[in-house]
Chain length 362, copies 2
């Protein structure tokens, strides 16, 4: 699979515009014993979105889709953490503005990030000054936020919500691996944390792609314990949640124009394809992974991108552009998260992973 | 205020059994411009609950209310972190069992904790094997979980959810301050992280106290930057959310039998009383704080308890016992969380805080 698989002429997805119909009589209730998918009877609309990325990401294959690329000079703050907060704020404010709204219209901000105590989100929320719910599921944070916000809007509890997340290469390296100054070497199966923020405005009324269902993931752990090999750790969680979606909805890969995972990277994507094949599903050309899309081979990012901002930025630009243009009528977006900490791995634990998904329809 | 204020004969709350009625015509929508409260038209019931605490907490004033006290020997695991995970699991499984349910009945687990990447929750969720949403708002995690689960159950998306959180003195000290081996001294305005887990089962049908509304907090930062003085940092957030509740519902402190905050401790509680007085509300005898209840003066915990498990354990034992017995007909439970990390404080940031609240009625 080429890292430019889903760019321009390489794409040839089968269009299936018919709605997803649940198989059971009471479709909105997640059932014990395996049912993990919630269906929205009043699907929220995506009315605003914004991806803000760093210099390196702007030079990659997705560069032309991102709404804003921040140059190295612009991101130079007193600390990398402040740069990360600013990037998240830019995405949140950009998404609200692009949706034709103001902060005063927003009922709720749902956000999370990779830093300890999700401080980027907490400090950004301080500036936004709307009710805030902190969410954490590592690189699956964006899809967890979208699922929760969709449920709250579907129920009529709120009218407009912003879902947002961010990651930053330098803050993530320092926290999860080594400070950049150490100049440590990376194994060839590693991924590169994307410096990017993504934000999505969901609204009860308005025009835009709809979130029609959400699949809430279980924690899956196949015993992987190498913090550099996130793709291998997370692929089984993506397989588990995708299988739950297909099972709950009675659909198959062919019913989606695009199945996009968060940041499995090249290796993790290959493992996911294999795991799904074992379950009887051929993901085929419909499937791609945001981590494989964001950098090209010359950027020395080995298996591709990772980080909460990876799928958040790619989905809020390239993927939703495709939905808006009619290229994709139905997208399954399954971000994937690894729930370990450096400490838990040092203590001998393996890496528990999760994947939450949402179905986006034109 | 004595730390035993709300024990036995010291209590004299005014009972107001009439339901909370929202002031506006469309009460279920959080409105821009200040409305932060969601009302549940099909309030979920608390059908199971469990508090599991450590030795020290078991010897405190709340000891007789906690459903399970784990002795030091029982908690001795290879690492403090494993002990914390086991304690959270015991609370989750105990709450499910006490609710007459099994794991297979549970549609969703919502959990979070204080450790980096909320690993206690992630690893516990791996064992429970139900769909899992990670949540983080520091010591306000329990009320955020209850608010989200209530909204999902109210909407009919799920039937049974478990909300859970945990904290552990030794893991929190090591992560936020110093490893215990350093034997560092604590300033007199400090609190003591409670070693405790609390879990609540919410159900769409069944008998038990109901969660009738939730107030989603905004991030509030009054410029406090001393990590040892959490009460002072968090009190303004509690004041902001309580004022939002009173404003959104047209109620006043006298309309609640008990107003209980998470873990402001003695100093923070005094500050909250003062801040509310400035806003025209006298909290009076109805108000207490879980942090002031959990230890007595001989236990050398200065301002009292703190940590996500503090209010989670006290509410799931003492407070809900009081609701079950008819002592309290309406409780406002507002946990409070400080959203900084040690790193953000080292970088010169102040401490942003938040308080999410739920209304529990008999």
């Amino acid at each position: 699979m080429s890292v430019t698989l889903h760019r321009g002429k390489d794409c040839s997805f089968v269009s299936t515009p018919d709605k997803i119909e649940p198989r059971n009589a009471e479709p909105r209730v997640v059932r014990p014993g395996g049912k993990q998918t919630i269906f929205f009877s009043h699907p929220p609309k995506i009315t605003g979105r914004m991806a803000v990325v760093g210099d390196k990401e702007g030079k990659g294959p997705m560069g032309k889709y991102f709404q804003k690329v921040i140059s190295f000079d612009e991101t130079r703050k007193k600390t990398f953490e402040k740069a990360e907060i600013d990037m998240l704020l830019a995405a949140i404010e950009g998404a609200i503005e692009r949706g034709g709204l103001t902060r005063r219209d927003i009922d709720l901000l749902l956000a999370g990030d990779l830093l300890n105590q999700i401080t980027s989100s907490g400090y950004a929320a301080r500036e936004v000054d709307v009710p805030y719910l902190g969410v954490y599921s590592a690189c699956s944070t964006m899809s967890e936020c979208l699922a929760l916000a969709s449920a709250l809007i579907d129920a009529g509890h709120i009218s407009h919500a912003v879902c947002a997340t961010v990651s930053h290469f330098a803050t993530a390296e320092r926290q999860y691996r080594y400070p950049l100054e150490y100049g440590n070497q990376r194994p060839p199966y590693a991924q590169w944390t994307v410096t990017a923020a993504g934000a999505t405005v969901l609204s009860r009324e308005g025009d835009g792609p709809r979130i029609t269902a959400a699949t809430l993931g279980k924690v899956v752990d196949y015993g992987q314990n190498d913090q550099n090999n996130m793709g291998a750790a997370m692929a089984p969680a993506a397989a588990d949640s995708l299988a739950a979606l297909f099972d709950d909805t009675g659909t198959a890969p062919k019913d989606y124009d695009l199945i996009v995972t968060g940041d499995l990277g090249k290796l993790g994507s290959d493992i996911l394809r294999e795991l799904m094949r074992e379950r009887g599903y051929d993901l085929g050309q419909r499937y791609t992974d945001c981590g494989t899309l964001v950098y090209d081979g010359t950027q020395k990012c080995y298996q591709g991108g990772s980080g909460a901002g990876c799928s958040a930025s790619v989905v809020n630009s390239f993927v939703l552009d495709g939905v808006a243009s009619g290229r994709y009528n139905r997208v399954a977006y399954f971000a994937t998260g690894a729930l370990m900490s450096p400490q838990s791995c040092f203590q001998g634990e393996t890496i528990p992973c999760i994947s939450h998904g949402v179905i986006i329809e034109r």
